[in-house]
């Protein structure tokens, strides 16, 4: 997990791949929405209060609060097949 960073730290419009998801009350919902290991995610825009951001994932745009996005670790390369 050396190169993995939290999803909230990824600049807008930068494609990254999910490396890991920390267990949290919403991790089940995140997985159902397609936030699984190896999935490509692109942050699209941040909301006016900077408390949440919209992400492009598996063909859909999902808004996540930063506290929830912080549980998702990503890297610039797809490590799911390592």
């Amino acid at each position: 997990m050396n190169n993995a960073i939290s999803l909230t730290a990824v600049p807008i419009n930068t494609a990254v791949f999910i490396f890991d998801i920390k267990e949290s009350p919403c991790s089940g919902r995140l997985k159902e929405l397609g936030f699984t290991k190896g999935t490509r995610v692109v942050p699209l825009h941040v909301n006016p209060g900077r408390s949440a951001a919209a992400y492009f994932v598996r063909g859909a745009v999902i808004a996540l609060r930063n506290t929830d996005a912080d549980t998702i670790y990503v890297s610039t390369e797809d490590c799911s097949h390592d």
């Binding site: 919902r29 929405l33 825009h45 909301n47 006016p48 408390s51 919209a54 063909g59 808004a63 506290t67």
Partner: protein, 591 residues
């Protein structure tokens, strides 16, 4: 025997549109996740056979989190369906396939319907539905439900489906890579450009407020003309009826014409036009896909208020009808946050109440240039104060009787879709005009009879209405109102639409219906009865903050299953209203 067919799938894949196309029913549709929160049933007849079609709320998996999802999953796993139609969104198959493969692994009586094929084509996404069928080991039907394409094929497949399919054993990634021949790497450029403005840090919230104000202004400006025509029409009818029944007894002339008919006239002439105009305008925003963007824009404020951001969706629904708003809180996963959303929903003025707000605002904004814009700004301010009070009460509840961890905010932002004007007009006529006319007959007619009786039955030479008004007057005066206004709010418990008509009835008494050409002219009647701008402001505050109507209270009881929370939902807005009215009255008199 009628076969039972379930429509299942992720939220916002067009299940309700397919349901309507199959059954000819008019189930609510909207461009956001969570529009359908209860199971809807309808009958499809095809080639002499009858099928019961059940439209389930959208789900992401077979492990439900929120109340609406629980209802859908319970129905799916109960095993009493003859066939499950899994509806997929062709533009978002990668995600939709997760649920589809879960269902095909669990059940064998499944067919798959890939909807929104037209949108997928526009986005350059090509789906090989034959390959998808082979990999899912079931029949796959491509559809464009909004235009009706593929619906006949779907009906035929439902009709001819008589054997089970195999169980899917491929991973979703494998199915997706094999069946989606060209994909989009990033979301639609058009949507991104719109979002960069509508959810931007600088423009996001100002645009939201401007849209609200603009909708209200169109409503106020547009309602004047039909209100005047309806008033003239009903006044003529009343004149004709009174002449025709000139020699009739008091029951016909008084109770039925001056009581029941006049109240019905007020409700239809004063309340119906704003409702009939606001509703389609609001539906345009809903169908565009703007509502989830409001939740996204306001997340930070909801977070600070310890409330769930999805609450804004139920608040928006509350603008149409609070009972509908309360039901729509089912999309909120946390029980605690759902209760907060239910208790505070009444702070959003429903369609019936903001018609009252418009009417009341005209009292202190009379005539002149830009009057309708000023009224629109006043009503916008009133609605925003309702939002502010919602935040304050939510915060107080979350640190007192509804303590608990704040849950996450995860919400899908749907693609923008062009609304269908004819569908919106049809829906508005059906859901607003017919509904209001029905309520006018069911609720306003008996209320009109009661008011007339109270106005005409005397005790110690004073009418009963005056007795009640005099009894309530001292307390009402403290709130900046008068006894008649408070009486109207109490008698108006069954429906908010009748409160202002009852106030007008109380003032007009036996003087006959006053014909008016615009809503602003009605303000003159109130001014004649000692209304000042303070009375209007306090009446607006109390209209915004008082007990929910009877339908909403029954809905709260049903949704919470608790008398305690129903009582709390009654007391909190009422106490807030009384307190705010007293403060406003005191402050405005000091100024």
């Amino acid at each position: 025997m009628t076969k039972k067919i379930l429509l299942a799938g992720n939220p916002n894949t067009g299940k309700s549109t397919i349901f309507n196309a199959l059954t000819g029913k008019h189930q609510h549709t909207g461009n956001w996740s969570g529009k359908t929160v209860g199971n809807a049933a309808g009958i499809m007849k095809y080639k002499g056979k009858s099928y019961e079609i059940i439209d389930l709320p959208g789900i992401y998996s077979l492990e439900p989190i929120s109340e609406d999802e629980k209802r859908a999953v319970d129905c799916l796993i109960s095993g009493d369906a003859d066939l499950i139609v899994v509806v997929l969104d062709a533009t978002c198959l990668e995600r939709n396939l997760i649920l589809a493969s879960e269902i095909t692994k669990m059940c064998t009586n499944v067919i798959v319907c890939v909807n929104l094929m037209d949108e997928a084509e526009k986005k350059g996404i090509t789906v090989d539905t034959d390959m998808l069928g082979k990999m899912l080991k079931t029949k796959v039907i491509p559809t464009r439900a909004r235009s009706g394409m593929g619906i006949n094929e779907l009906k035929e497949e439902i009709y001819s489906h008589n054997k089970g399919c195999g169980r899917c054993c491929c991973s979703t990634e494998c199915i997706y890579k094999s069946c989606v021949l060209s994909r989009q790497d990033i979301t639609d450029n058009r949507d991104r450009k719109i979002d960069s403005i509508l959810t931007s840090r600088i423009f996001g919230i100002p645009i939201m407020l401007a849209l609200l104000c603009c909708i209200l202004w169109i409503t106020i400006w547009g309602a004047n003309y039909p209100s005047g025509i309806l008033s003239h029409f009903f006044n003529n009818i009343e004149g004709f009826l009174l002449n025709y029944f000139a020699d009739s007894n008091i029951i016909i002339k008084g109770l039925l014409i001056e009581g029941v008919f006049r109240t019905l006239s007020w409700v239809v002439a004063v309340m119906l036009p704003p409702m009939a105009i606001f509703f389609p305008l609001f539906t345009i925003l809903e169908d565009l896909g703007y509502l989830p963007r409001i939740a996204f824009n306001l997340d930070n404020i909801f977070k600070k208020a310890h409330a769930h951001s999805k609450m804004i969706l139920s608040m928006c629904m509350g603008l149409g009808c609070n009972a509908a708003g309360i039901i729509s809180t089912r999309i909120i996963e946390s029980k605690k946050e759902r209760l907060i959303a239910i208790i505070t929903n009444n702070f959003m003025p429903c369609n019936g109440r903001f018609s009252s707000l418009i009417m009341l605002a005209t009292v202190f904004i009379s005539g002149g240039m830009f009057a309708s814009i000023k009224v629109a700004l006043a009503v916008t301010a009133a609605i925003l104060s309702g939002v502010l009070i919602t935040f304050v009460i939510s915060y107080i509840l979350s640190v007192t009787i509804l303590k608990g961890e704040q849950s996450s905010f995860v919400l899908e932002l749907p693609p923008y879709r062009i609304p269908q004007p004819m569908a919106i007009i049809r829906r508005s006529i059906r859901e607003r005009i017919v509904y209001v006319l029905f309520r006018a007959v069911a609720v306003a007619a008996p209320a009109g009879a009661i008011i007339w009786l109270l106005q005409n039955v005397t005790y110690n030479d004073i009418t009963l209405l005056t007795h009640i008004a005099l009894f309530l007057d001292p307390f009402a005066k403290l709130m900046g109102l008068d006894g008649y206004i408070l009486t109207a709010f109490i008698i108006g418990l069954p429906a908010n639409e009748i409160v202002i008509p009852i106030v007008l009835m109380c003032y007009t008494g036996n003087s006959g219906l006053i014909e008016f050409n615009s809503l602003a002219e009605l303000g003159n009647l109130l001014r004649m009865n000692n209304w000042t701008y303070i009375t209007a402001v306090c009446a607006m505050i109390f209209s915004l903050n008082h007990f929910p109507c009877a339908t909403s209270l029954l809905t709260i009881k049903k949704e919470t299953g608790s008398l305690k929370w129903t009582v709390v939902s009654f007391l909190i807005p009422t106490a807030t209203g009384i307190l705010l009215c007293m403060c406003a009255n005191l402050l405005l008199r000091l100024i």
